[in-house]
């Protein structure tokens, strides 16, 4: 049987708060990116960045829905026991879990692929091919959990590398902090790959994710402040 929950009992619900923080940061940056796109419609990269962050933010919303169904399921079985009455509730939870988890993985991978495509321009044929591979690997793979995190890791390593290159070119604190933020998001994916070994690793991965999104928020605030100060 596939293990659904890697989260220790005492951490239930806390990961939802971490995901809400991540969603807030992603949507905030996406909102400003759309505003900047309206100012300069010639640069479509603003729009792609906003869309990729919206995709990733929405993927976290589905992750929260998925987690809710798992926690709900656990609480129900505890309260009611093995009465026939619980059977339907468990069944519907499974469907919600399946759809939620599938959407979480699809949106996250498409979001990361879109971000990756900003820095490594893709041909149309490539976009179709990669999209096809993302869909079949997410939907049909028996080891979907690992495949998802390894694919995310692959995209994130390249995105982080591009941000590091950008830092080497510009040599300032905000570009450095952005590279660090994405470096931490990448690290969280590495830890997520190994959560089956010990559930405590899930907590560590979530905490790294929280630190990375707070760092991303600080980077963004600094970008706006530097922009205002610049003469």
């Amino acid at each position: 049987m596939i293990q659904l929950v890697y989260n220790p009992h005492w951490f239930y619900g806390k990961d939802i708060i971490i995901d809400i923080v991540s969603i807030f940061v992603l949507f905030l940056i996406a909102f400003f990116s759309i505003k900047f796109y309206k100012l300069n419609k010639r640069n479509k990269n603003y729009l792609f960045l906003a869309l990729s962050f919206i995709f990733i933010g929405c993927s976290f919303i589905f992750k929260i829905i998925t987690n809710f169904t798992i926690y709900y399921h656990i609480l129900e079985t505890r309260r009611i026991g093995f009465m026939t009455f619980t059977y339907n509730a468990v069944n519907s939870s499974h469907i919600l879990f399946f759809v939620g988890f599938l959407m979480y993985r699809l949106l996250m991978l498409f979001g990361l692929y879109m971000l990756y495509s900003i820095y490594l321009k893709q041909q149309k044929s490539n976009i179709f091919l990669i999209s096809y591979l993302i869909i079949i690997s997410t939907y049909f793979s028996s080891s979907a959990y690992y495949l998802f995190h390894v694919t995310s890791l692959f995209f994130l390593v390249i995105i982080t590398y591009r941000y590091l290159k950008n830092y080497k070119k510009n040599r300032d604190f905000t570009t450095k902090l952005l590279a660090y933020s994405f470096g931490m998001i990448t690290l969280s994916q590495v830890v997520f790959v190994f959560v089956a070994i010990n559930t405590f690793l899930y907590v560590i991965a979530e905490l790294i994710q929280l630190a990375s999104y707070i760092s991303l928020l600080i980077t963004f605030i600094m970008v706006l402040r530097h922009g205002k100060k610049k003469k």
Binding site: F32, Y119, K165, T175, V223, G227
Partner: protein, 90 residues
């Protein structure tokens, strides 16, 4: 080789030039300070006046251009956008 300025860069340069001169500037000075040909400046200036970012006033028989609050806000937004673009490598 320096990158060719786009529309947004030129508008930012014009607004910065006015602001650097304390918020008001003579049209000829603006033309030199923002490195524009006469016709080019005329086109951009018309757009900025139409959008209420710049206003024309007359002082001591000389024409001056002044930056409005909307103009200052637009310049702030462009600077934020440029910083965002540079940081994210867009």
């Amino acid at each position: 080789m320096a990158r060719k300025r786009n529309r947004i860069d030129i508008i930012a340069d014009m607004l910065s030039s006015i602001l650097d001169k304390g918020g008001e500037i003579k049209p000829t000075h603006l033309m030199y300070k923002s490195n524009l040909a006469h016709n080019q400046m005329k086109t951009y200036l018309e757009e900025l006046i139409e959008k209420n970012c710049v206003r024309k006033i007359t002082k001591n028989n000389h024409e001056y251009l002044i930056i409005t609050n909307d103009g200052s806000r637009l310049l702030e937004k462009i600077r934020e956008m440029k910083e965002f673009e540079r940081t994210f490598g867009l």
